[in-house]
C-alpha cells in the first residue's frame, strides 16, 4: 500500500502520528519542488506548511487515483500558485543567495554530485521547465503524474518536458557537462 496513503488514513483515524509521518516523508521534497515554483525559499516553506494545514483542517478525500505523493504535490502546487498571485517571487539567483538553510536542504536531498550539477543548471531555466524537470528527474514522477500535478494534459506535459530537456542540455553543455540523452 502507498505509505503516504497509509499515513493519511492513520491521521484520518485520529492519530496525529499520521501527519507526522507525512511531514517526515514529504516535507523536504515538497519544499524543494515549491521552491522551483516560487523561486523564494520563504514562500516555498510557507506554501508547504499551508499545504499540510489544508490537509489537517479540511481533511480532503484522497481517491487513490494517483499516488498520495502526486496528490500532495498537486495540492502544494496549487497552494504555491495562489501565494504567487499575491506576491511577486524573487529572481531565482537572488533567492538562492538567501542564507536560510535552503541550500543545505537541497544538498541533503540531492546527494549525487551529478544530480547536483543538473540541479544548479535548472536554476537558469524558465519556471515551467524547472518545475517539470524537477518532478520528472528529481522526484521521478511519471509524465502522467507530473501532468496531474501541473494541471496540464499529458501531451502538453510531454511537449514541455521535451523542450525543457533541450534547454537543460544547452545549459549543461555550457559547463562541459557530459550529457546523456535519455
Amino acid at each position: 500500500m502507498d505509505k503516504g496513503a497509509e499515513a493519511w488514513r492513520q491521521y484520518l483515524d485520529g492519530d496525529d502520528d499520521g501527519i507526522a509521518r507525512l511531514i517526515a516523508m514529504y516535507w523536504d521534497g515538497l519544499v524543494l519542488f515549491l521552491y522551483r515554483c516560487t523561486a523564494d525559499w520563504h514562500m516555498a516553506e510557507e506554501a508547504a506548511e499551508d499545504t499540510f494545514v489544508r490537509l489537517v483542517t479540511r481533511r480532503p478525500h484522497f481517491s487513490g487515483k494517483s499516488s498520495f505523493k502526486t496528490w500532495l504535490y498537486a495540492i502544494g502546487h496549487n497552494t504555491a500558485c495562489r501565494a504567487l498571485g499575491k506576491k511577486r517571487p524573487l529572481p531565482l539567483s537572488e533567492a538562492e543567495a538567501q542564507p536560510d538553510g535552503g541550500a543545505e536542504l537541497e544538498e541533503a536531498y540531492i546527494r549525487d554530485e551529478r544530480r547536483q550539477a543538473v540541479h544548479r543548471a535548472l536554476g537558469r531555466l524558465s519556471p515551467d521547465y524547472r518545475r517539470v524537470l524537477w518532478l520528472t528527474y528529481f522526484e521521478e514522477f511519471s509524465n502522467r503524474e507530473a501532468a496531474l500535478i501541473l494541471k496540464r494534459s499529458v501531451h502538453a506535459t510531454e511537449v514541455l518536458l521535451s523542450r525543457a530537456r533541450s534547454a537543460l542540455k544547452n545549459e549543461l553543455q555550457k559547463e562541459n557537462f557530459q550529457y546523456e540523452d535519455a
Binding site: 496525529d16 501527519i19 507526522a20 511531514i23 517526515a24 516535507w27 516553506e45 510557507e46 506548511e49 499540510f52 494545514v53 489544508r54 489537517v56 483542517t57 479540511r58 480532503p60 496528490w71 498537486a74 495540492i75 502546487h77 496549487n78 497552494t79 500558485c81 495562489r82 498571485g85 499575491k86 506576491k87 536560510d100 538553510g101 535552503g102 543545505e104 536542504l105 494541471k151
Partner: protein
C-alpha cells in the same frame, strides 16, 4: 530551517486554531447560514460571517402577500436593462428553518410583464435574479472583468446540467492557472482574506445556480494566518469555455465575481 518536529507543531497548532474558530462560528451562527442551501435551483444569498455578525445592516424580510421593491439585479452576467427597482409581489414564503425564510418574489417590469423571480431571505440580503433574467446572448465587457465574452447560458436546463455533471472530473483546488485570461484576478476579499476554494466543491450535483461554501483564510500584512471566514455564495455555470466548465461566483454586495474552472474528463463530449 525548521525541523520536522517544529513544522508538525506549527501545523497542528494552526489546525487547533482553525477548529476552535469553526466551533465558535457554529455556536454563533446567525440566521441559519446552512438554510441558504435550501434555495433550490434559484440563486440565493451571499452570507458573510465575521464574529457571528453580518457585515451589513439586516433588513426586515418580506412576507407572503406583501409588495416589495427588489434591489437592482446585479447577478454579474449582464447589465440591467431597465427593470431595476422593479416592484414585485411576494407570492410564496417557505419556512426553511426557524431563523431563515426563503421568499420568492415575482418581478415585473413597469408594463406588468413578468421578468422572473428573485429569492430573498429573512435578512433581506439576497435578491439575486433567476435564470429568466439571465442573458441569452453573449455579452462583453462586464463590469467585473477586463473584457471577454461569456458564452450564452440558455442551455442550462436542469436536465442538461444533471447529465453533464458526470462528464467532469474534479480538480482538487482550482487555481488561477486554470482560469481564462479574462479572469479579473480577484484573490482578496475585503482586502485581507484569501480564498481557499474547494471545501464544498459540489461534485455530482446539478450544475445550475446553487450555493457554494467558500473558506477564506485571513492573513495579516506579513502573510501570517490570523483567522478564517466562511462565506456562502451563489455560483452559476457558464458552460463551454474551451475544455473547461467555468463557474462564476457572484458576491452581490461586493463588486466581485470569481470564476473557477472544472475540466472535462477525457470522454467528455462537446457542449
Amino acid at each position: 530551517m525548521k525541523t520536522h518536529d517544529e513544522i508538525l507543531s506549527a501545523v497542528l497548532a494552526r489546525r487547533d486554531a482553525y477548529l476552535a474558530a469553526k466551533e465558535k462560528r457554529a455556536r454563533m451562527a446567525y440566521g441559519g447560514v446552512t438554510a441558504a442551501v435550501c434555495c433550490t435551483a434559484v440563486a440565493a444569498s451571499v452570507w458573510l460571517w465575521k464574529g457571528g455578525k453580518p457585515d451589513w445592516p439586516v433588513k426586515e424580510a418580506p412576507t407572503a402577500g406583501t409588495t416589495v421593491t427588489t434591489a437592482t439585479p446585479t447577478d454579474g452576467f449582464h447589465e440591467t436593462t431597465g427593470e431595476a427597482e422593479t416592484a414585485g409581489t411576494v407570492t410564496d414564503a417557505a419556512q426553511s428553518e426557524p431563523t431563515h425564510t426563503a421568499v420568492t418574489t415575482t418581478r415585473t417590469d413597469p408594463t406588468g410583464t413578468e421578468k422572473g423571480t428573485t429569492m430573498a431571505s429573512t435578512s433581506g440580503i439576497p435578491l439575486l435574479t433567476t435564470q429568466a433574467e439571465r442573458p441569452t446572448t453573449a455579452t462583453t465587457d462586464h463590469a467585473f472583468g477586463t473584457g471577454g465574452t461569456i458564452p450564452p447560458t440558455e442551455s442550462e436546463s436542469t436536465t442538461t446540467q444533471a447529465a453533464a455533471s458526470s462528464r467532469y472530473t474534479e480538480i482538487d483546488d482550482p487555481t488561477e492557472e486554470q482560469l481564462p485570461e479574462w479572469f479579473p484576478h480577484v484573490t482578496a476579499f475585503e482586502g485581507e482574506y484569501d480564498l481557499l476554494p474547494g471545501g464544498s466543491w459540489p461534485l455530482g450535483e446539478p450544475l445550475g445556480p446553487q450555493d457554494l461554501w467558500l473558506h477564506y483564510e485571513g492573513r495579516d500584512e506579513n502573510g501570517r494566518y490570523v483567522g478564517d471566514k466562511i462565506v456562502t455564495a451563489t455560483f452559476y455555470t457558464v458552460e463551454g469555455w474551451a475544455d473547461k466548465e467555468i463557474l462564476a461566483l457572484k458576491f452581490r454586495d461586493y463588486d466581485t465575481v470569481l470564476y473557477y474552472a472544472r475540466q472535462e474528463s477525457t470522454d467528455a463530449t462537446k457542449y
